[in-house]
């Protein structure tokens, strides 16, 4: 085992190995962090989408894109009645509430959407709610009245009647100065106020309101068409990709190696069977088989992993390992081992395989990203695990939503960048290891 340790020590001399290792450690560290902070169950729950994300904008780009571009696009503002100074006027059989929802809006762009979430604690009679919009320049707009259910979502953005009145979609019109001519609308900065006037018809009934002014940028990764924060998928993609890549690489390499060694050691019909199986397996196309399994059976990532490993067992590697092991079988120390009574398993596992391990380690390291890419390709083809957030899934969503056509570059680029980073890390490490463990390459 000493050559291995020596080799690892020698890595310090190869900057590419250090960079590769740094990338891999960063990925592994982030993966551990992710799995600890967003447990598996929670990640699946989040990725399923739905109400958890109602406070998030749709298709918002990452906040740093905005910073780099030098623009000042709106972020999401949530104004809750819990923080507002509520005026209360009780009367017989009811209560009159005035909830002013105030917020400062100092951005260069218009929000992407405007929603009001109303919660009422009535038991029988719904309260009556009237909404008034007050702009910084002193205008007051009546947004109409309604009788909310216990949980009501008032989509101000989708109020067609209001849109007709404003001449623009509400989340633009409400933030724009009075239109002058045909020029593009201009944002007015300053303090906005949505006053919720509620009349409840039950003495102890309350009304709570949450106003959400959806921004156009969100977090580090942006959001997708289902308001999901892409960060969840980008982060969870790391452990999934690493685990898939590593397990597939280990699974195929170890089984292939042991089978090749057994074939070489026993020779005869064992070797013949292994060689014929390999030859048949080499010409089987892997991707179509995976597509078939995914379509007809299951797209669970574990099933895919199993199929990938199963197809990888009798892979072309067997031919290579066999060529490397054949001279070792004939070497004197193997004969000596046989002479002193080492059993077949001992000879294969303890003498033959460790001899070629140093040569295999670089190959093994560079094999990991190919399986990461394979998993992403499957997801991109729509055969990703249906519940798991992965990079491939993000790209698949981006593709089905025509992200590039709509200019949502971040949606495609960020998972692609992470995939490339993973590939780069393992490749840099693998190539450096190749030079360390196969010194003959160094001088050439």
């Amino acid at each position: 085992m000493r050559p291995l340790l020596d080799g690892l020590r020698r890595m310090g001399r190869y900057p590419s190995a250090l960079v590769g290792l740094a990338i891999i450690f960063a990925l592994v560290g982030t993966a551990v962090f992710t799995v600890v902070t967003i447990p598996y169950g929670q990640a699946l729950e989040l990725w399923r989408g739905g109400d958890v994300w109602r406070m998030h904008p749709v298709n918002a780009r990452p906040a740093w894109v905005d910073r780099i571009a030098g623009s000042n696009l709106p972020r999401t503002i949530v104004v809750s009645s819990d923080d507002a100074v509520i005026e209360e006027e009780p009367f017989v059989g009811g209560n009159r509430l005035r909830i002013p929802l105030e917020f400062d809006f100092d951005y260069d762009g218009f929000p992407s959407e405007l929603n009001l979430f109303l919660t009422s604690s009535h038991t029988e009679r719904e309260p009556f709610v009237r909404l008034t919009w007050e702009t910084p320049d002193g205008r007051e707009l009546n947004l109409g009245g309604r009788r909310p259910a216990r949980e009501e979502r008032v989509s101000i953005s989708q109020d067609w009647e209001l849109e007709r009145r404003l001449g623009r979609v509400p989340h633009v019109g409400l933030f724009a100065a009075e239109p002058e001519g045909d020029g593009p609308p201009e944002v007015i900065g300053g303090r906005y106020r949505l006053v919720v006037d509620a009349i409840t018809f039950e003495a102890d009934a309350r009304v709570d309101a949450d106003l959400v002014v959806y921004g156009r940028v969100h977090g580090l990764a942006g959001t997708d068409h289902q308001r999901r924060d892409l960060m969840v998928a980008l982060l969870w993609g790391i452990p999934v990709a690493l685990a898939f890549g590593l397990l597939a690489a280990v699974g195929t390499t170890v089984t292939t190696l042991v089978i090749a060694a057994a074939g070489v050691w026993y020779g005869g019909w064992v070797d013949a069977v292994i060689q014929r199986l390999t030859e048949v397996n080499i010409i089987l196309p892997m991707l179509p088989i995976l597509v078939m399994v995914g379509t007809l059976y299951s797209t669970s990532i574990w099933v895919m992993l199993g199929v990938v490993i199963a197809l990888g067992i009798f892979s072309a590697g067997i031919k290579m390992y066999r060529a490397m092991l054949l001279p070792i079988r004939e070497s004197p120390y193997i004969e000596a081992a046989k002479a002193y009574g080492a059993g077949n398993a001992r000879i294969i596992l303890r003498y033959m395989i460790p001899r070629i391990l140093p040569v295999l380690i670089p190959t093994f390291v560079t094999l990991i990203p190919t399986f990461v890419f394979l998993e992403a390709s499957l997801a991109l083809l729509g055969l990703g695990d249906p519940v798991l957030p992965t990079w491939g899934k993000v790209m698949n969503d981006a593709q089905t939503q025509s992200a590039l056509y709509h200019g949502f570059y971040y949606w495609v680029l960020s998972p692609a960048a992470l995939l490339m980073l993973t590939g780069l890390g393992f490749a840099m490490l693998g190539f450096a290891l190749d030079r360390i463990f196969n010194p003959r390459l160094r001088t050439m």
Binding site: M1, R2, P3, G267, S331, P332, Y333, E335, A336, A337, K338, A339, Y340, G341, A342, G343, R346, R350, Y351, P354, R355
Partner: protein, 324 residues
């Protein structure tokens, strides 16, 4: 001769297939060795010495065509043993072996100490920790410092490696150690010190040795018995004193005459011709073609005759002796 010899080999035959036909590498070899005895097997290259060593350990080549004879260890016939039983009960338990090219017989990626301990782990199921102490002990016996336990084979000199391989052969305390060309690749000084180590070990442990070599002078150092092979057959088997003093077989005589001696005026003799091809050995005596004493009986395969105490010769010239 009352007690059973440690190892008795009777009519051992090993033929294997090659591209051109069947090679009769061993064709009826019989000998025995007692406890605490050093037997030197002499012979030219290609006479079947190494094949004999491997056949005794039942390390047969993959292309073996015929393997027969009797191999009695302490009077117990082992030819009938299954491969597994032979592995568990004979190899390294009764007989161990130092391979030819012993310097390459160490796995380059395993520490010497670990490797020497391997037979203990395989045969006695000892843990690495248990084996370490015994390994250090054996290292002392063969004359290597225990510091070398932690080294890798490439860090050892040729002589050290040879000793390490010897240590590996001795670690399970076998009754017999077969050494195939143990000193061929070493310089004279190292050869001598290894021979001395062998003598000492033989004295201390009472181990028997079979030394397979073509080096007549070095082997005469330790030899108590000598077996001379020619073309897959044993031509003479005798006490070392008798053999070196008064060789009986014409081949033995010529061989002894061919050994160069210090301060000797006459040039060493060389034997004209070459050994017969084992693919198709000639009828009759295999040495006949090169034999100066050839006569008409030599056209028939000679029998092995017993002449004197524990001495046999496969030559018609000694037909006066009793048939062995």
């Amino acid at each position: 001769m009352a007690s059973e010899p440690l190892l008795r080999v009777e009519d051992l035959r090993l033929h294997y297939r090659s591209g051109n036909g069947v090679v009769r590498a061993l064709d009826g070899v019989s000998f025995d060795i007692r406890r605490n005895e050093a037997l030197v097997v002499l012979g030219e290259s290609g006479c079947g010495k190494s094949t004999l060593a491997k056949a005794l350990m039942r390390l047969l080549p993959r292309n073996v065509q015929h393997f027969s004879g009797n191999l009695l260890v302490d009077g117990v016939e082992t030819m009938g043993f299954s491969e597994e039983r032979f592995r568990r009960e004979v190899r390294w338990v009764r007989i161990s072996m130092v391979m030819q090219a012993a310097m390459n017989a160490l796995n380059p990626v395993i520490r010497v100490g670990e490797q020497v301990a391997e037979p203990l782990r395989v045969h006695r199921g000892w843990s690495a920790r248990q084996a370490r102490e015994r390994t250090a002990e054996v290292f002392g016996l063969v004359g290597i410092s225990a510091d070398f336990l932690q080294r890798y084979p490439f860090e050892l000199s040729g002589g050290m490696r040879q000793r390490a391989v010897l240590a590996m052969a001795l670690v399970t305390e076998p009754d017999l150690v077969i050494m195939d060309e143990p000193t061929s690749a070493l310089d004279v000084l190292t050869q001598a010190s290894i021979m001395n180590a062998l003598k000492r070990i033989k004295q201390e442990l009472g181990t028997s040795f079979i030394l397979i070599t073509h080096d007549v002078s070095t082997s005469s150092e330790i030899a108590e018995r000598v077996a001379l092979m020619y073309a897959g057959q044993l031509v003479e088997f005798a006490d070392a004193k008798d053999f070196f003093g008064e060789p009986a077989h014409p081949y033995s005589k010529l061989l002894m005459a061919s050994v160069p001696r210090l301060h000797q005026e006459e040039t060493p003799v060389h034997i004209p011709g070459q050994p017969p091809n084992l693919l198709n050995p000639p009828e009759g005596c295999r040495f006949a073609e090169r034999c100066p004493s050839r006569f008409d009986r030599c056209d028939r395969d000679p029998e092995t005759f017993r002449i004197g105490n524990r001495r046999t010769v496969r030559c018609w010239l000694h037909a006066a002796g009793s048939r062995a």
